[in-house]
Amino acid sequence: MTYKVKLEVFEGPLDLLLYLIKKEEVDIYDIPIAKITDQYLEYLELMQLLDLSIAGEFLVMAATLMHIKSKLLLPPDETSVEGEEENDPRAELVKRLLEYKKFKEAAAELAQKESQQKHFFPRVGSGINIDELPAPEAEAFEATLFDLITAFTKVLRDIPKDIFHRIVKDEFTVSEKIHDILHMLVDNKALMFTDLFKAAKNKTEIITIFLAVLELIKIREVNIVQHAPFGEIEIVRSRESIKPNSST
């Protein structure tokens, strides 16, 4: 079974690095390159496992990180003049990260302004749409794709070893799992991400369930939310998909 899930406008390598830096609570001015590189590579592996299309830039960054790491492993250049300063091989990367972070923060401020401005209405142009009520303010904030992958990594780590290694013929499809999840959402307003995998019998089933979640997000049937940064992830029905007499 090959099921390619293409998620467009995937946030880039700098985004991932900033996420890892924040998650590991490391000092951006003193990044533990070995640790961060390992985590970064772990994410790339997982993305490949899920057949997510990885932009070339992610691979370039992987090479960059390994290059920096190797530079740091080398002993200091003994031929350099005494007292001469050695450049930190991380400097260039940190500079890029800070530059990007600057604009990420600016974007967040713009998002706030956008929210505020949304409540002011002008005279309408010639295209009035009578439409649904605007979505209520979310109390939880939308989890990112990376949060989802983090949660999935935990799920994989926590399953018993024998289930992990069992190789079984495919008994289920992503479509089936999509229906299962939607069915569960009819009775429950929200589902805990980890609960989705409790009944899974083998690794393939776990991955199939995860792909189903990704597909549901992509077609905007569900949203993923967290109530705290790096907290438990919940799957909820997205507002746009709630229609009266919905059959799924």
């Binding site: 467009e8 406008v9 995937f10 946030e11 880039g12 390598p13 700098l14 985004d15 830096i21 924040k22 000092d27 951006i28 001015y29 003193d30 070995a34 932009a55 830039e57 960054m61 740091l72 492993l73 300063e85 050695e86 930190d88 400097a91 940190v94 890029r96 800070l98 530059e99 990007y100 972070k101 600057k102 604009f103 990420k104 600016a106 974007a107 401020e109 713009l110 998002a111 302004k113 956008e114 929210s115 505020q116 401005q117 949304k118 409540h119 002011f120 209405f121 002008p122 005279r123 309408v124 142009g125 009035i128 749409n129 009578i130 439409d131 649904e132 009520l133 605007p134 979505a135 746009e240």
Partner: protein, 211 residues
């Protein structure tokens, strides 16, 4: 014409226009009126609206003036006029922020900061008329330059580009972390693996990041 008449005319113009009207435009229409007087009149109109409890007021936005409804009533107005779900995505906002602060800027320079391809995002921003092309850079390849539009100012409630919030600049000096690296190779006793540890002798900066 007397002031009362000018006031009513300006009010009428603001009433019908679906875009902000600049003072220049008002001057073109009314002819013998000066910018300070226009501002005065608009201030008077707003005071009248507050006094009589109107549900709208005249706001200064995107280089002009426009009648906008009070946010308190947005719940109801939104029913009539769909405005709810067209918020921009993260990548769109980041790209737009870069263009806003650095305009005019080429696609390549935007990508250098974001670290990822922006073709799709640029297309979306152009479709929504939040960014547009403006000429080419006089450099090899003559790459296209991008700028933000007036619609951008309206969307974010800005009077002009001057109202963009200040960028949180990191200190250039924070990056001069010169380390007399005291590198020691440490073998992890459990795994037997080689781990590097770089111990800074003199660390500068740090902490300003606050994440």
């Amino acid at each position: 014409m007397d002031r009362e008449e000018a006031k009513r005319i300006i009010e009428a113009l603001l009433f019908v226009s679906d875009k902000p009207i600049s003072i220049d435009t008002i001057k073109e229409i009314l002819k013998h009126i000066e910018p300070p007087e226009v501002r005065d009149i608009i201030g008077e109109l707003n005071r009248e609206y507050v006094a009589s409890g109107r549900s709208f007021s005249i706001k200064e936005i995107a280089g002009g003036f426009q009648m906008l409804t009070d946010p308190i009533y947005s719940r109801w107005v939104a029913i009539l006029y769909k405005k709810g779900s067209d918020k921009l995505t993260g990548p769109s906002l980041e790209t737009l922020a870069i263009i806003a602060y650095k305009q005019p800027i080429t696609r390549t320079d935007i990508e250098a900061i974001r670290g990822v391809n922006v073709d799709g995002v640029l297309k979306t921003l152009e479709e929504r008329n939040l960014a547009r092309t403006k000429g080419r850079l006089d450099a090899p390849g003559r790459p296209i330059l991008y700028v933000t539009t007036n619609e951008f100012l309206q969307h974010f409630g800005l009077r002009s580009l001057d109202e963009l919030p200040n960028l949180k600049e990191f200190q250039e000096s924070d990056l001069d972390f010169v380390r007399e690296a005291n590198r020691s190779e440490v073998v992890n006793k459990e795994t037997g693996k080689l781990e590097e540890s770089v111990m800074p002798v003199q660390a500068e900066g740090g902490g300003a990041d606050g994440s």
